[in-house]
C-alpha cells in the first residue's frame, strides 16, 4: 500500500490548525451571538435576498446551529481526513478549506446577528452583503496562512516490485483473462443510493410545490443520466485475449481497446487514487496516463505505442500483466527493456 503517515509533531500541527483553530473561531462567534441575545428582535432575520433585504425569519438558534454545530462537525471531519486518509491526504488543502470555511461562516452569521442589535423589527435589518464579502476576505486571510503552516502532503511511495512479470506461452496457446473491476461495494452503492435519494427528494419537492410536468420530466431525465454516468464510471470489465486488451464499463461505453501489437509493455503498479489521479472513475494521471481508477492499490499499467498509457485498478493485476507481456513476447521477443520509461510529463 502506498500510505503516508505523519510524525507526532506534524499530527499535532494538523490537529491545531485543521481542528482546533476553526472550532476556536466559531466559538468566538457563538460567544458574541449569545452575549447579544437580550438586544435582539424576535423573530430574527436569518436570510437575505440577493438585493440585501431580509426574506427569511427565525430564531437565533437557527444561526447558532451553523457556528455551534456545522463548523465543528466540518472541522472534526476534515481534520480526521487530513490525519487518517494517509495516502494522498493533502493536509494543506484540507486545513485551508477548513479554516477558511469556518472564518466565512462565523463572520457571516455573527455579523448578521450583530447588525440586528437594538432593532424593533427584523424587517429593518440592513443588508449583510458587505459582511459576506468581509467574511470571504477573512476566509482567505486566515485560510491561506493556516494552509501554509500545515505540513506538506507526503510524497506517495511507489513500490518497486517485480513490475513487469511475464509468462511463457506456447506457439498456438489460446488465452483468456477476464475480471471485473469495481469501486468498493459499500462506497459505490452509497453514492448511487445518495443520488437516487437526492433526486427523489427533488421530485417530491417539485410535486409538493405544484411544479410543471415538463419540469418533472427534465428532473427524471437528468436523474437517469446521472445514474448512467455513475454506473459507467464505477463498474468496469477487463478482458484480455490473444488479440489484445479491452477495458470497458459494464455499460459497454466508455471502452478502451488495445490490440496486442499496440502494447509496449504491461506492468504492475501501485496506484494512489487521490494523490495521483485526484479521485475515482475515469481519470487523467501523471505522465500522460489515462486511469480507470476504482480504488488505491494494485493496478495494471499498459504502455501503448501510440497513445496514452492506460492504468486499470484491476485485481490479480500480476496475472494480467504477465499474460499481456507473454503475448507481446510471443509476437516479437522484447529486447531487455530499460527501467520504467516515464515518458514525457
Amino acid at each position: 500500500m502506498a500510505t503516508s503517515s505523519f510524525d507526532p509533531r506534524e499530527r499535532r500541527r494538523i490537529i491545531l490548525l485543521a481542528g482546533a483553530l476553526p472550532i476556536a473561531i466559531a466559538a468566538v462567534g457563538v460567544a458574541l451571538v449569545v452575549s447579544w441575545i437580550p438586544q435582539l428582535p424576535t423573530p430574527l432575520a436569518i436570510h437575505w435576498d440577493g438585493s440585501g433585504a431580509p426574506d427569511g425569519f427565525g430564531t437565533v438558534g437557527a444561526l447558532l446551529v451553523i457556528t455551534a454545530l456545522v463548523v465543528p462537525a466540518f472541522a472534526i471531519g476534515l481534520c480526521a481526513a487530513a490525519l487518517f486518509a494517509g495516502e494522498g491526504a493533502h493536509p494543506r488543502v484540507l486545513t485551508g478549506v477548513n479554516v477558511g470555511l469556518s472564518a466565512f461562516l462565523t463572520v457571516g452569521t455573527t455579523a448578521s446577528v450583530a447588525v440586528q442589535r437594538g432593532l424593533e423589527s427584523a424587517q429593518d435589518a440592513p443588508s449583510i452583503n458587505p459582511w459576506m464579502l468581509a467574511g470571504a476576505a477573512c476566509a482567505v486571510l486566515l485560510g491561506v496562512p493556516a494552509a501554509l503552516l500545515a505540513p506538506r502532503a507526503r510524497p506517495v511511495r511507489l513500490d518497486d516490485r517485480d513490475a513487469a512479470p511475464t509468462m511463457e506461452l506456447a506457439a498456438d496457446e489460446r488465452v483468456l483473462f477476464t475480471r471485473s473491476a469495481g469501486i468498493r461495494g459499500a462506497v459505490g452503492w452509497g453514492v448511487v443510493g445518495g443520488v437516487v435519494l437526492l433526486y427523489a427528494i427533488s421530485v417530491a419537492g417539485v410535486f409538493s410545490a405544484g411544479g410543471s410536468a415538463s419540469g418533472l420530466v427534465w428532473l427524471l431525465v437528468t436523474a437517469a443520466l446521472t445514474l448512467l454516468v455513475l454506473i459507467a464510471s464505477f463498474w468496469w470489465r477487463v478482458r484480455l485475449t490473444g488479440g489484445g486488451l479491452r477495458v470497458s464499463s459494464v455499460l459497454g461505453l466508455p471502452r478502451f481497446s488495445v490490440p496486442i501489437g499496440e502494447v509496449v509493455e504491461a506492468r504492475v503498479v501501485e496506484v494512489a487514487a487521490l494523490a495521483q489521479y485526484g479521485g475515482w472513475g475515469l481519470r487523467g494521471g501523471p505522465g500522460r496516463r489515462t486511469g480507470v481508477i476504482l480504488r488505491s492499490g494494485e493496478a495494471l499499467e499498459v504502455q501503448r505505442r501510440s497513445a496514452r498509457t492506460l492504468v486499470v485498478t484491476v485485481g490479480d493485476a500480476t496475472t494480467a500483466a504477465a499474460l499481456l507481456n507473454g503475448l507481446v513476447d510471443r509476437r516479437s521477443p522484447r529486447p531487455e527493456s530499460p527501467a520504467a520509461d516515464e515518458g514525457a510529463s
Binding site: A170, D172, E173, R174, L176, T178
Partner: protein, 115 residues
C-alpha cells in the same frame, strides 16, 4: 479468471478447458455465483469449437462445479466453497512432498492408490 488452452498439447481441449476453470475455482479467482461466459462467446474468444466448450461445461456440471441453465449460461455453484477448502489443504501436502523429493506424478500416483 485466466484460461489457457494449448491445441498442441496431447490433452483434449475440453479437458484443458475444464481443468482451467477448476484451477481458477481452486485459486479463488472464480467464486460461487459467478457466471462463466456463454459457450459461444468463450469459443469465439479462445478460437475453439463451441462444442468443445459445451463438452467442458458438461464435464464441470457433472462434477457439480457449475450449473447449466438455458439462457443463463454456466454459473459456478456453491461447491466452489468446498473446492476452496480442499485447495487450502494442498500447500501442506505439496510442502510435505517437496521435503521428500516426490515428483507431482508420484504424488498423483499415491493419491490414485489411496482413492
Amino acid at each position: 479468471m485466466l484460461i489457457r488452452i494449448d491445441p498442441d498439447s496431447p490433452v483434449p481441449l475440453y479437458e484443458q478447458l475444464a481443468a482451467a476453470v477448476r484451477g481458477e475455482v481452486l485459486r479463488g479467482s472464480l467464486a460461487a455465483g459467478e457466471r462463466l461466459p456463454s459457450a459461444r462467446d468463450l469459443a469465439a474468444l479462445l478460437e475453439i469449437n463451441v462444442h468443445t466448450v459445451l463438452h467442458a461445461y458438461q464435464l464441470l456440471r457433472d462434477e457439480g462445479l457449475v450449473d447449466l441453465r438455458r439462457g443463463r449460461g454456466a454459473v459456478v455453484t456453491d461447491r466452489a466453497h468446498d473446492f476452496a477448502d480442499f485447495a487450502a489443504a494442498l500447500p501442506t501436502l505439496v510442502a510435505a512432498a517437496k521435503r521428500l523429493n516426490l515428483s507431482p506424478a508420484a504424488i498423483a500416483a499415491m493419491i490414485r492408490e489411496a482413492y
